[in-house]
């Protein structure tokens, strides 16, 4: 019973904050709502006894990814216009589409046939560790995907660096080796003969 109440609260919170993501005025609010959604979801996942993933969601997602989002939002700081502009105009269409999709999924859910019969979840043994079980699966049967995931992260790094790291043109660096190598007499000093210039020439270089 308590579970149900918790579920209802958390579910309401999830849906509500998800709605908040798409309707609020400011991007920062949206990001914060998203954080809330994730947190509420993590709670629900706990209800589903996926403790490790719930923690990961909070730690990795809320802790890292959402912070990154917020960071970028702040950095780009483009919120000169309200996000809500035009929202009212398109909202009916959005609601209709969302309802259609939801109805389609809901129709299936309501019909309650997914092909396999779902029993009630088995009660867990006392020493059951979700984390250990997950870890065991990942490092044995799912070793191969795990490696791929690694590569994906590598690609993410490479791509992000490639896209955002830039050596600016015209930035002055100090290259000590070069400085040392310079032959002062031949490389640094050059005597140039210059004819005197008129003032008009100075005006238009």
């Amino acid at each position: 019973m308590i579970q149900q109440i918790v579920f209802i609260i958390l579910a309401a919170l999830t849906i509500g904050s998800a709605l908040g993501v798409i309707v609020v005025r400011h991007t920062v609010y949206a990001a914060l709502f998203l954080v809330l959604t994730f947190v509420a979801s993590a709670g629900l996942w706990l209800l589903l006894e996926a403790e490790f993933l719930a923690l990961v969601l909070v730690l990795v997602y809320v802790g890292a990814v959402m912070v990154l989002f917020l960071f970028i939002v702040m950095m780009l700081d483009t919120d000169t216009q309200s996000l809500r502009q035009g929202l009212v105009r398109y909202a009916p269409l959005g609601v209709v589409v969302a309802l259609i999709v939801f109805a389609e999924i809901g129709y299936v859910v309501y019909s309650r046939e997914m092909g396999v019969s779902f029993g009630t979840p088995l009660p867990r043994a006392g020493d059951f560790s979700n984390t250990r079980e997950l870890g065991q699966a990942i490092y044995t049967a799912y070793g191969f995907p795990f490696e791929i995931a690694g590569v994906i992260l590598l690609v993410g790094i490479v791509a992000a660096i490639m896209l955002t790291l830039r050596r600016r043109q015209g930035v002055r660096h100090q290259n000590i080796a070069k400085q040392v190598r310079v032959n002062a007499k031949r490389g640094r000093l050059r005597i140039v003969h210059m004819p005197s210039e008129s003032r008009t020439g100075e005006k238009n270089p």
Partner: protein, 479 residues
């Protein structure tokens, strides 16, 4: 652990991953003038991978890593074509990238990782592998599209591609999740067996089928999930367009076969109908919209969409012959598209993209040989014999007529006629118009000239003797 999985079938993938990392490291320490080392090293890597794949191939399919990876003949052949096309892309790209100071290691590294992604897609046999490999490929592609950081259109294209791609992968994932729920498994073979057993048409599976097809068709660029394609084609730099726009099709074809045929083969009746609609829509939109394009890359994008319609024809036929036909179509299409983009890169110079139709004006006066090659490609794409595109169309038409869908064959050929129109426009520009006054002579690396010529001639040669390739497709697809 009691026993390690067999690593033999996966050696090429391991090799590619390792070499990509190696090249990444090497490239960091190379000065800009030595960038060619990366180039040749990448090509050597691909060549070595090809050799590995070739030597590792076995007649019987090998499953490894708890059935997550399959190494079979179809996969190997498709992989070999992927390698070939990656090499072609690299060779075509070198001069082009150098002219635009984009000649950097990242292109090669991402290219190799993307290739790895395609290899894994081709061999994937589990939803997790499928998803991860798709993402691996997609992330590489997103990054490559955005590679020209100073190009507003490039980043715009990347943005669109990214957002839509993310929606598609979300949809696919949602489909996977429902399938998982409906079958209780992530393995394709088990799923196939499950669906075959459940005589009852399950509504949950139907729903998941819808999501999965949307995801797949996004990757294959079928209408109405094609919207990103023209923008990406136009926005990305040409070598990337070649890589992004055409190569993945080979891998996605394998995915179609694995997922729809092996996994969801029991729902053939359903996806057959869906694909029929999507195929007709793709052919229609691709053929018709391409007509009024003035940008060649954009035109090729729509032409690509209409070719997708034809590829779908082979798949929707739902017969062995149909899958073979689709495979033949995919391979030959990629060859032709590579040549078309090669031509664009051939004509492009620093500050001049050669991606407008206008830029091909009077090519016959400037270089009769390459005008010929382009003509081969255009007629090939239009499906005019004796070029290979004709046999590809013939093969898929045969497949659909075989399942008594003559009407769709008629629809297809009518759209083929419409699409011939814009290919002819290119030929018209090349042959019937005078070159612009300021046309400069073509300058490009020698190896590209040779490869492009070979590519163009292949379009003709495969058309005159399509038998071996057809036999190959027939040999590797036996279900």
């Amino acid at each position: 652990m009691d026993n390690l999985p067999s690593f033999a079938p996966i050696i090429p993938e391991i090799f590619v991953a390792g070499m990509a990392c190696f090249i990444l490291v090497v490239d960091v320490f190379l000065p800009d003038t030595w960038r060619d080392v990366t180039h040749w090293l990448s090509i050597a890597t691909v060549a070595a991978t090809a050799w590995l794949t070739f030597t590792m191939s076995e007649n019987a399919p090998l499953l490894t890593f708890h059935d997550m990876f399959v190494n079979d003949q179809m996969g190997n052949v498709l992989k070999l074509f992927v390698y070939l096309m990656v090499v072609v892309t690299f060779v075509y790209a070198r001069g082009y990238l150098r002219d635009r100071s984009l000649f950097k290691g990242e292109f090669y590294v991402l290219g190799l990782f993307g290739m790895l992604g395609m290899m894994v897609i081709i061999s994937a046999h589990n939803f997790i592998t499928i998803y991860l490999s798709l993402e691996l490929l997609a992330l590489c592609l997103f990054a490559m599209v955005a590679m020209d950081r100073d190009s507003p259109v490039g980043s715009e294209a990347a943005m669109k591609y990214f957002v839509l791609g993310a929606i598609a992968s979300g949809t696919l994932l949602y489909g996977f999740s429902l399938l998982y729920g409906a079958s209780g498994t992530l393995d394709l073979t088990t799923l196939g067996m499950h669906i075959a057993e459940s005589s009852l048409l399950n509504i949950g599976i139907m729903l998941s089928l819808g999501f999965v097809i949307v995801g797949l068709c996004f990757e294959l660029e079928a209408v109405p999930f094609h919207m990103w394609l023209p923008d990406v084609y136009e926005g990305a730099t040409t070598p990337v367009t070649l890589y992004v726009g055409t190569l993945p099709k080979i891998a996605i074809f394998a995915l179609f076969i694995r997922l729809l045929v092996e996994g969801l083969g029991g729902l053939k009746l359903e996806w057959h109908l869906i694909l029929t609609v999507l195929s007709v829509l793709s052919m229609a939109v691709g053929s018709i919209v391409a007509l009024m394009q003035t940008n060649l890359k954009r035109m090729l994008a729509y032409s690509n969409i209409s070719h997708v319609g034809f590829i779908l024809l082979g798949i929707l036929a739902g017969t062995t012959e149909g899958y073979r036909a689709a495979m033949f179509y995919v391979i030959t299409y990629v060859i032709m598209a590579a040549a078309a983009f090669g031509m664009i890169m051939l004509l492009a110079r620093k500050g001049f993209e050669a991606d407008r139709l206008e830029d091909f004006r009077g090519l016959n006066d400037r270089s009769p040989w390459f005008a010929w090659m382009m003509m081969f490609v255009m007629f090939g794409m239009a499906g005019v014999p004796p070029f290979v595109g004709f046999f590809a169309k013939l093969y898929v038409l045969r497949a659909v007529i075989d399942v008594h869908m003559v009407w769709i064959a008629v629809v297809a050929v009518i759209f083929a006629v419409i699409s011939a129109w814009y290919y002819l426009k290119v030929i018209k520009l090349m042959y019937f118009d005078k070159p612009p006054e300021d046309a400069k002579p073509i300058s490009c690396p020698l190896e590209m000239r040779w490869l492009l010529s070979a590519n163009g001639i292949a379009v003709l040669a495969l058309g005159i003797l399509p038998g071996p390739l057809m036999a190959l497709c027939a040999h590797v697809i036996t279900f």
